[in-house]
């Protein structure tokens, strides 16, 4: 009996709570600020946000410029490649500002889900790097032909008696296994799942003066903080990583913008920005450096926009 009463009391309390919630559904006291009245000539778009700071820099600059021209922009953090392309196909995302994939979107482009808009001005260059102190101490180490001579320096508990070769993150173009076998290098390829892991390797190698060889790339602001030297392999002779022999180096890769047909056909300011946006590695690094030192991405982007009004005006033509 007592328990039943208690249950009833509890039910009534919950009902009160529900009533409280419902009573809250009445008229709203705090009204929305009126939407900024601007050019209504631009539509609403969604930009995919991938998880590296250079990408954030490019995407944020585009966002700010588009907003200033009356576009309604939202950003969605999103995993790279497949998930993003699918999202473009279903209409949930309109723009990828920096794709390193070298054509991995082809299947989606064939179905008309997305369009390759051309390069964004940034040139990606992947390579194998050693900490600067090694290049200073062993000047010939930057020639891949001499790597075996120093292989013993790189041995650790993970590397099974051979030199440890820290390979790039999963989403990136990586041909380390081919390079090691084609050049008969006495190294074990250790797959690193994240940029963070590589940064840890290089930071410690610089701080403790330990040996390390790993995958790195430009544009990336990290190189400005921890100096590293690129190990050069014979001049590149491939563009499709799948067909690379592994004997030669990574190629220079113009980074690509991808957009939905909807964004490209709208012919509004956003279309122009997407088509014309182009900047240099130095530009991206400058904005990325500000973001990394804790500046709000929107503020960092605006700072660059203010300083480069002419370039920005060019995108809107």
């Amino acid at each position: 009996m007592i328990r039943n009463k208690k249950a009833a009391a509890k039910a009534s309390v919950l009902a009160t709570a529900a009533a409280l919630l419902l009573s809250a559904c009445g008229g709203a006291g705090v009204d929305a600020d009126a939407a900024p009245a601007g050019d209504t000539a631009c539509g609403s778009y969604v930009i995919a946000m991938h998880a590296w700071v250079g990408y954030t820099a490019s995407a944020q600059v585009i966002t700010e410029v588009a907003k200033a021209n009356g576009c309604d922009i939202s950003q969605v953090p999103l995993a790279e490649a497949g998930v993003t392309y699918d999202a473009m196909e279903s209409g949930s995302v309109d723009l990828v500002v920096e794709d390193w994939g070298g054509g991995r979107w082809q299947e989606w482009a064939d179905r008309g889900a997305l369009v390759e808009v051309g390069d964004n001005g940034n040139i990606g260059l992947i390579g194998m790097y050693v900490p600067q102190w090694m290049a200073d101490e062993y000047p010939d180490i930057t020639d891949s032909a001499n790597l075996n001579k120093y292989a013993d320096l790189f041995v650790n508990d993970e590397s099974k008696g051979k030199g440890a070769w820290y390979e790039g993150p999963p989403g990136y173009t990586t041909i380390g296994e081919k390079m090691v076998s084609a050049n008969k290098l006495n190294f074990t390829v250790l797959p690193q799942g994240s940029e963070a892991a590589l940064i840890d390797v290089f930071t410690k190698a610089a701080e403790n003066k330990t040996a390390a060889i790993g995958y790195w790339w430009t544009p990336q602001n990290f190189l400005a903080k921890v100096p590293m030297a690129r190990v050069n392999f014979p001049t590149n002779d491939w563009t499709d990583a799948g067909l690379a022999s592994g004997l030669t180096d990574y190629p220079e890769l113009p980074l690509i913008k991808l957009a939905t047909p909807k964004a490209l056909d709208a012919n509004d300011p956003f279309t122009k920005i997407v088509k014309n946006f182009k900047w240099t590695n130095d530009d991206q690094n400058a904005v990325a450096a500000d973001i990394e030192s804790g500046t709000d991405p929107a503020v960092a982007a605006q700072k660059w926009i203010d300083a480069n009004a002419e370039t920005v005006a060019g995108w809107l033509k």
């Binding site: 709203a28 929305a32 699918d86 949930s92 508990d157 797959p191 892991a197 990583a241």
Partner: protein
């Protein structure tokens, strides 16, 4: 055949010494053979290379993709489901997180939300808990993350409510019927072990990016936990009350309602708590497919390697976890007290409820009328100091304990990992297959050996044998370390309420602090290595082991303990001879869940240099040309988990069989 029979004859004798000798001989032979044939027939497969199976999986994925827009399944199934879930989530978000209609705030401003949370918690439990809940939620706001926290709270509530609506009924069914349990177990294993990243992209393909996909991904992972613990709780109810009920002619429904459910309630609550924890551990993954909440600040911080900022967001997740966990537990413990409260206390409580209700209404109205009560005050912001303190203490630990952390990593890596890898992955595949099957035969018998052999051959056929063995090695080491730490701590908190109270926030943090938050510190401690992957697995899986073991120890009947004490048992004897054996089923469930939780973060291990299947899942997720390989890697993790779990189950079943 005769050979097998002879072996069987040997084993069938319930002489433990014989079996351990057999195992010792097997291991010795294994090590010697592995040494002799080292590096031969290891089936290493370079990352960019496919096998016929992985190519096939990739083609299947492609064909689904190409055909998705047309078809009735979208019109009549996927789209309505998406709409429903999105509507449900949005409904909750509009109350606490996102602006509704033409207003710039949600239905409730921050003051209103806090008041409602306080009131509801007070109503279902007691004042102290209500104050705690209010402080916890307020702190989320003070961390500068009010809106993100509310989004996460809304998403979690939605996922948990739907998970429980499905999970508890299925759990009851599986608790009552052996056949139901047999039918659902493989599905639970599948859903819990298959890495989320494997089905995340397909989910987003069918349900689009956003809250719906994120909620479904969360539910896939959290429903099994609700089902398992509910079923376990009902099965644990001792036979005598059920028999007593049956003999008095109670109906099945009455039996369930009056005896089984009330007696299982503590375990079911543990299930609800764990469902909440599981849902919260998805915050970051949800953000990868565009869901709102605290995952975004975590990722933003990770992008610029802002360790402190990441922790601030991670702490907000943990605070929400603690708030939900404590409130549900407190609500139940109120229900459990059978002693009726005196009339004066009841009157006091009624008065308290009425005044709290009035205060709540006032707060709600205020939060809808005045900006100060609508928008969380920006002046109250402790995120900077919290970020600085965490960052400097992590830096301090990294600097001063490096010898310890790297030393520990080295001991485990050189002493255990490398030799074990030498035996499992760096020897011919047929040797490893044969030896694991023989071990399974000795431990669990013929059926166990048959299942083991089948699963191992399936892994070989997938083409990812080598990577699977790399992951297997790490899983063994991680699970062993988890169990040895987890059982000790579990016994401790099972015996001491104070220890339980002290450790619980840490356990909750281990389970819900997103791994992405401590990825960089972990790398700082141990460097990118297999050990770092193992450490991540341990952090994530210890809490559930400790909680289940602690619960098991608590549920050992008091009369058993009293009897033991009266016969003069020492504390040590009490633990090893009475409590642990009596909690054997809990230990088994803890091992099973510990293993599954370790496997659940294999993919996170791939992020920090552990290689193996986890890395391949990541590769498949981000390189469309290798998506098939990623899918098969996910299924290999599943096969591996099934194999270990089944060997363990058969071994236990055999050992607990009545002695001849």
């Amino acid at each position: 055949m005769s050979d097998t029979k002879e072996t069987m004859f040997f084993i069938a004798k319930p002489k433990k010494i014989k079996r351990s000798w057999l195992i010792a001989i097997l291991f010795a032979a294994w090590v010697v053979l592995a040494r002799i044939f080292q590096g031969k027939a290891t089936l290493v497969l370079a990352v960019p290379e496919d096998t016929s199976v992985t190519t096939w999986a990739g083609n299947v994925a492609d064909s689904i993709r190409g055909n998705r827009s047309d078809g009735a399944s979208f019109k009549y199934f996927f789209n309505p489901v998406r709409e429903f879930i999105n509507g449900f989530v949005t409904g909750i978000r509009e109350i606490i997180a996102i602006p509704t209609g033409n207003s710039s705030i949600p239905m409730l401003g921050w003051l209103g939300v806090i008041a409602v949370i306080g009131f509801v918690v007070y109503a279902v439990s007691h004042l102290r808990m209500a104050i705690t809940a209010v402080i916890l939620v307020f702190t989320c706001g003070a961390l500068g993350l009010w809106t993100d926290s509310m989004d996460t709270l809304a998403m979690t509530l939605a996922a948990v409510i739907m998970s429980l609506l499905i999970g508890i009924p299925v759990g009851i069914w599986a608790g009552l019927s052996d056949r139901a349990l047999k039918a659902v177990t493989p599905i639970l294993d599948l859903a819990q072990i298959l890495p989320t990243l494997v089905y995340l992209a397909p989910l987003a393909l069918f349900f689009l990016i956003g809250p719906a996909s994120a909620t479904i991904a969360t539910m896939v992972y959290s429903i099994p936990i609700a089902v398992r613990l509910t079923a376990f709780g009902i099965r644990e109810v001792s036979v005598s009350p059920v028999e007593a009920g049956t003999s008095m002619g109670t109906t099945k429904i009455q039996l369930l309602r009056k005896i089984q459910l009330p007696m299982a309630s503590r375990t079911i609550i543990l299930g609800i708590n764990q469902t909440v924890m599981a849902a919260l551990s998805f915050v970051v993954i949800a953000a990868l497919i565009g869901a709102p909440g605290l995952g975004k600040p975590v990722i933003d911080a990770l992008i610029i390697r802002d360790v402190g900022g990441g922790f601030v967001a991670g702490i907000a997740v943990v605070l929400i976890a603690i708030m939900l966990d404590r409130s549900t537990s407190a609500a139940i413990s109120i229900d459990e007290s059978f002693v009726p409260a005196p009339a004066s206390a009841r009157r006091r409580r009624k008065l308290g409820l009425v005044s709290a209700g009035v205060a709540t209404i006032i707060c709600i109205v205020l939060s809808r009328q005045f900006a100060w009560a609508a928008y969380f005050p920006e002046q109250v912001n402790i995120s900077k100091p919290v970020a600085n303190v965490t960052e400097s203490s992590i830096a301090w630990i990294t600097e001063n304990f490096e010898f310890l952390t790297t030393g520990l990593a080295k001991v485990i890596t050189v002493g255990i990992l490398n030799p074990l890898e030498g035996v499992l992955s760096n020897s011919p595949w047929f040797l490893t297959v044969a030896m694991i099957s023989l071990l399974s035969l000795i431990l669990g018998g013929l059926r166990s050996a048959f299942i083991t052999l089948t699963l191992l051959l399936a892994i070989v056929a997938s083409g990812l044998w080598f990577d699977t063995m790399i992951t297997f090695t790490q899983t063994i080491v991680a699970t062993m370390l988890t169990m040895s730490i987890g059982v000790v701590v579990g016994v401790w908190i099972g015996r001491s309420n104070r220890a339980e109270r002290a450790l619980r926030p840490i356990l909750d943090a281990g389970q819900t602090l997103p791994a992405f938050v401590y990825l960089i510190p972990m790398l700082g401690f141990f460097g990118p290595s297999r050990f770092t992957g193992i450490a991540t697995g341990i952090v994530y899986s210890i809490p559930i082991v400790v909680k289940i073991v602690g619960q098991g120890i608590r549920e050992v009947p008091t009369n058993m303990i009293e009897a033991a004490i009266s016969t003069g048992s020492t504390k040590w004897q009490l633990i090893t001879k009475v409590q642990l054996p009596a909690a054997k089923k809990s230990l088994l469930l803890a091992t099973n869940q510990g293993l599954i939780f370790v496997l659940a973060v294999v993919v996170i291990g791939g992020l920090v240099g552990a290689g193996g299947l986890g890395y391949l899942v990541l590769v498949g997720g981000s390189k469309p040309e290798l998506q098939g390989k990623g899918l098969i890697a996910g299924f290999s993790i599943l096969l591996l988990g099934l194999m270990i779990d089944r060997i363990a189950q058969y071994t236990v079943a055999r050992n607990s069989a009545p002695k001849h």
